[in-house]
Symmetry: C2
Subunit: 338 residues, 2 copies
């Protein structure tokens, strides 16, 4: 039994390149008692993975050199020597980028294939959806009538943040990187305004026009100069959920900018960094909320699905080019169940 | 009846100078019904006043040009046409820098002269003490065994912050601007370590040595490069109370520095700006806590008192030179009561 794998070939300086990755083909050993053979169906690519490619201390340990990249994967059990996970089960877990994986079941969560499309569990019903829910509601705490700005608005997290903020009765302004995206946010997802940061000469002026009553909540996926523009509009007692800083992830020197502390002091605002696992004790509440809104049609969900294991490096690099609308993932194989 | 006054003569660019201020002598009108004549006893000088000298929007309105500077003042009622405030009463309020003031009683709070030295009400029992209490406990939320760093540690707020953190069982590291101050913090106030930022070549290394378990709470009065050094040591889920940014108040261009958002994200930390009035609904609890510790001898309190109305501009400028230990104020007249 052979598996294809994608290894971390070298640690990137700045933007990753093709040379960051290396494809191999290897023989898998025999299954042992308690183990399962998994066939990867969907593999997630996420901005946080860039951090793991570097050697720096962070909230997740770095990938090891010459070992597979790993992340969120949905897979089907094709052989089983585990009573817990019979053949045909579908699971989600943090798994290596391989076409076939031998696993011992630890950390794998079974998925009900009838609940929603399988891929949703890597998106709105998975980590990105929970991130949006927890960061917006538990840090941002938006009140009806307040103005919520979200950067990276067309991404897997941002699309959910904006829609939840609308459900909560807020004015919602999204910042994204193409006219297709801003049109999608306004016309499909119901954002009040959306700004294309790539074609807008004066983002601060555009934001000021879009936020006539200032900004009460800022959900930040991006960082950098877009955030600077948002900070100039903060109302008193604003809340800033720092979820990502994708504009800085490929920086090769320490990112500099206007100091934000004087703004936080002047406006008495709160800024908090987080990752979704900080709120693990509230995932039940969050998953139920998301599933409910999805069922009621209040939450729309879009995916960009690349096809084929070979596409993984390219799909990952696309995250930094702002190519995707909604959740970006790669379909590796067909689910045999239906 | 004449009064001496100190007006804002011009808005300073950068550090205020003698020309920022103008002394005048003016005739006061007759007292009207409901009014009192106040003799200023103690006048407070505080870093936040620098902000009010500029024309920028902030949490307190700017001083008006050619009108008196104003701030915390303790005064004695020397004539009264108010039933609320008889002659001989001592009050505290936000009042103009004048030797004598006519007031209508609004916003004046009577002080019990037997509770503590009068001047304490401009310090540990007043705005600076409440600021320390509320910012440290309600934002910083220090737990026993955690490490608390305070910048501007020898000032009116910092001295109280560090002592409360010790009472709460924390390791406390102060950053201040002279060897006299660091000696005072360590040997008089019980700080575990104190760093003289003016003579320490590598503040980050000195802080790392003083905080072997990292930093859990940072109470920031100063901002700028000192804060950058602290950020490099933040533990996961650290809390940063942004109380002041005195190193930046005289900046003539937008202060730039390393972006802090990636640090907050990596460590999942919280940063919050505040002013003491945000916690007005908890002043009772805070004042009782401070008075109790003072009475038990757990809180030590030091003042630097300049003598004479003429000294006000010089005393204010001294704040930015780091000359004072503890609360800095000016004694203008003797209390007649005792």
């Amino acid at each position: 039994m052979k598996t294809r794998r994608i290894l971390l070939n070298e640690r990137p300086k700045g933007l990753p390149t093709d040379n960051t990755f290396k494809f191999t083909e290897d023989e898998l050993p025999e299954l042992q008692d308690g183990q399962v053979l998994l066939k990867a169906l969907y593999i997630s690519v996420d901005p946080y993975m860039r951090g793991r490619m570097s050697d720096a201390k962070s909230y997740v340990p770095p990938y090891k050199l010459h070992e597979p990249i790993a992340g969120g994967v949905i897979a089907e059990v094709t052989e089983s020597r585990s009573s817990q996970l019979p053949k045909g089960s579908v699971v989600i877990g943090n798994l290596p980028w391989q076409t076939y994986i031998i696993a011992d079941g630890k950390g794998l969560m079974p998925i009900d294939p009838n609940l929603a499309p399988l891929s949703y569990h890597l998106g709105i019903l998975g980590m990105p959806g929970l991130t949006a829910y927890c960061g917006l509601l538990f840090i941002g705490d938006p009140k009806p009538g307040e103005t919520v700005v979200v950067s990276g608005a067309a991404g897997a997290v941002g699309t959910v943040v904006g829609q939840i903020a609308k459900i909560k009765g807020c004015r919602v302004v999204g910042i994204a990187g193409s006219d297709d995206k801003t049109a999608y946010l306004k016309h499909e997802l119901g954002f009040d305004e959306a700004i294309n940061y790539k074609t807008t000469a004066d983002i601060q002026a555009a934001l000021a026009a879009a936020c006539p009553n200032g900004v009460d909540v800022y959900f930040d996926n991006v960082g950098g100069e877009i955030s600077d523009a948002v900070y100039s509009l903060l109302n008193n007692f604003a809340r800033i959920a720092v979820c990502g800083q994708i504009s800085l992830y490929n920086a090769t020197s320490q990112p500099m900018g206007p100091r934000v502390e004087p703004v936080l002091l002047k406006t008495k605002s709160l800024m908090k960094g987080f990752i979704v696992s900080d709120y693990a004790d509230r995932f039940g509440e969050a998953a139920a909320g998301l599933a409910g809104w999805l069922k009621e049609g209040k939450l729309k969900y879009e995916e960009t699905i690349a096809e084929g294991f070979d596409q993984l490096p390219h799909a990952f690099l696309g995250l930094f080019k702002g190519e995707n609308i909604g959740k970006l993932l790669v379909k590796v194989a067909e689910y045999s169940g239906k």
